[in-house]
Symmetry: D3
Subunit: 204 residues, 6 copies
């Protein structure tokens, strides 16, 4: 398992600018290890910072924190956002993102089976009809965004999604399309730890 | 031509945070108008800032400013970067990006015909074999990033591209894949000014 | 820009049979130049004549000149026919036809932006719902003619199209599918003049 | 078997202009019946005439009658032209053309099995390597004409094909792409006679 | 026509185990020749036996012999089962199966034209609306089984198909997907006899 | 997790014929549970028996037990056979088979990460170049068996695979294409036990 984590040179943590180093140490403290994406993208600090800022804007936003023009709030849970990422990454055949975000999905949703289901065939996953509609919309943004039309938004609204949700679904799908391409092209490998996370009860 | 520029509410320039407003006024001063993308994404300031930071990291970097592990510098001209964007956006059927970046491509390359050629069929475009190889790599990242392998990098190296160039080509393709999906899904329309830019000699 | 206009030998205008020469001089008089298709196909006079006869049968027919079995007349305007050609040629990635017929489309419709819109994504073009239905039908004939069924005709009739119109849409799409393949395969290049035609007000 | 031969009204032979009537009676005399395409397209005399002229220019030309710039003659036999038509029509799922031209192929080649083989999978057909290369080129023109490049011509030349042959292969493929779309869209049905032609020795 | 019937060694009939030999002689007695599939798979007796057992379970079952939980019986005629096989094999471009099962289809249905129609474009075949629905379901199982959903079963039920029928359609499609891949990969060629069977009245 | 294991009625183990019951109890004894496929297919005993016989012929054969005409033995390990099944099932989006056979793959190969890698993108999996060639061949059989040609066999031979291996790879791929379609169409769900098998060291 000594395959390098990227085709590109990976900088030493201690050679990184302070803000990057601080963020990485913070993640390490929470996760117990440094997810490879933080190091594999680090040789380009400006892109790294933009990538992380985009990531945080989409994934750290509090559910219910903003409202659309109809007064409907953003409603995607953090687990649902990871569901979108897992489905998108599977369609794009991105090993890093399916494994890493599948792990986070299992943890957020507390459903050890859901990530594999969503990755293999979201139509067969043990999810709600609302989540199914969410993933159908995401898959269309992923595969044929130029064909998105009124009917696609109507299908979301029928399940109670707000316009803020529609944007969130599309933006998460689009951002991880970027992430998938970067990870696949650069040969980024997932940390072994991710494969098992969320599959077994946490040991104390 | 009173079609709205987006399905989403577009904020008034004066309601935006100072940094966003400053950037937009700066663009307006240079271009003579505000490209719609700056306004259409503005209702989400955090995403807007990350988007612009990513854009700038990829497109404003000076040619020759960094070197790869073989001592080869980054060599993509600004025109070549726009060529990648135009080809990617055409494959993704993104009206906004083909029209806007096609305009910038014409201007940078001082070739009034090249953008239409690259958008319709890059194999027939009046570009160098090196640029053709660059676009072939970009198209594979765009359409089948999971199939990128050693042979694809070798094809780039055969034309003198550095590893920094390979990353730049892939990252620009990946980032505009994000941009294309956002523009198409949100119904973003290009400013009419873009359609003609770079096609006729500048009037004095 | 000295790329040849075709992989094949291009005959001298003066070596052509009289009928071909007359037609070409007539086009030149009207357009101010000889569109390359007239020369690039000319080394095969019998095919050239059949091609031009087919072209004229479809494109020169007067709107309203014939009626279908329900008494409904043919209604496609000349601009709409060029719209079909532009959309078809874009889907077939034919550089010559998108550039040349996009120019004619702009002129007939007096809409300088419409050709680029139709070529990049007809779903986003600034056209009427009736024209959208027309292009949807054309795209199905272009990409999956074997799947055309009653429902496709019903969709046309719902917008007031006659059976003569349905035939016209399909025949124009089919004929330019032929034209696209010939132009792409033979390396036919568009005249530079086409790129700008119809984009700027005619100078007097 | 009383299904109409077309969605469109089929004119009575006696109502047709003399030139069309003469041609149709001539075909009937030779074949023993009127192939439906002659009637199904006849309500549009101008298109009918162009269609037949194009057909004749491509299919009636004598083998060896012209030479390319290297002095190589056109070499496609009439059977090989029908082979191209059958393969193209199968890929386009055109019932009329596979059945009608498959019949003519069997007769010209005097091989009762070859049409079914070419239609189902030309890679498995009992044809020469030269014919296989011919069909590979035709299939690329049919399915991805915008990707045709020097290497595709080189593959033809390696089998002794002239530039005239390359044009013939492409033009036949392109013309029958038109024909396939017209037949499928209009619901043209093949005459029952075609299905059996060339499968059994002619009875005396 | 001395092409071998398979890339693999074909055992001599007399070297086969008794049960295999008996079955093959039985088929030969009925058909007048040994269909090549019986010999081309025979070098692997265990697979051969499983293949034949699966085949018989699906194709020899009597119509009306079992009932589903709603009390509806299995209703596919033997001709309809061959229709499914022919359509599936055509989509999979399997020369052996289209030719062999097309022959059986013609015989069972006593319709000499139906096999070619179903193979080229089942939408244009001269079959009942019920059979059309049957083939639409089969094609979805063949090409996108992971997208099969409630609506697909409802479409079958609307034509009176039982749940046993749904299973039969899917299982026949799936089994011949296996058969198609084996035949294509191994270069299995159809017996010349099949091409003509069922096309002409049986001679006495 | 009370979703039924199939759209179809699932027979009670005690109502099954003795041979089926014995086999199922045997599997249960070894695995600790009854894999759902054994029950979900059981309402059709004849198909069930053929399915299991085929399965056993392909998966229980001893490595090295037969030789091809060049004297080369069959060499696929049991782990490699599961690798083929996992890759095929992922391409066919079959939830049951990816989960169940991915588990067996992990166990046979003693590599807890390999199943997810093969399922998401076999090009990035931590496998040998020989195994990569094996999966490339399998994927072509799965997706385009009609295009398999000499060059595909040569690529296998270059890695030391025998003709027996080529057949095994193709037959396993073809058989699980059948299995995938049956599982997806019938709504077969994987036993929860499979998801975790082979991911953690066996507890004593």
């Amino acid at each position: 398992m000594n395959k390098p984590i990227s085709r590109w040179p990976v900088p030493d943590l201690n050679d990184l600018p302070d803000d990057m180093k601080a963020r990485i140490l913070d993640v390490q403290a929470k996760a117990g290890f440094v997810p490879n994406v933080f190091l594999a993208l680090a040789h380009r600090p400006a892109e790294w910072r933009a990538f992380m800022a985009y990531h945080d804007a989409l994934l750290l936003k509090e559910t219910g924190s903003v409202k659309d023009s109809n007064g409907l709030a953003n409603s995607l849970t953090k687990g649902e956002r990871e569901m979108i990422i897992t489905a998108t990454s599977a369609v794009n055949h991105c090993l890093y993102c399916v494994v890493a975000h599948g792990a986070i999905l299992r943890i957020y949703e507390k459903k050890p089976l859901v990530a594999d289901q969503v990755a293999i065939n979201h139509r067969k996953a043990d999810i709600s009809p609302r989540q199914r509609a969410m993933l159908d919309f995401a898959m269309k943004v992923c595969l044929a965004s130029h064909e998105i039309e009124d009917a696609d938004f109507a299908a979301l609204h029928a399940h109670g999604f707000s316009d803020e949700d529609a944007w969130d679904i599309a933006a998460i799908t689009a951002f991880f399309g970027l992430s998938n391409r970067m990870a696949s092209f650069s040969g980024m490998t997932p940390n072994p730890e991710f494969y098992l996370m969320g599959r077994v009860p946490k040991q104390k």
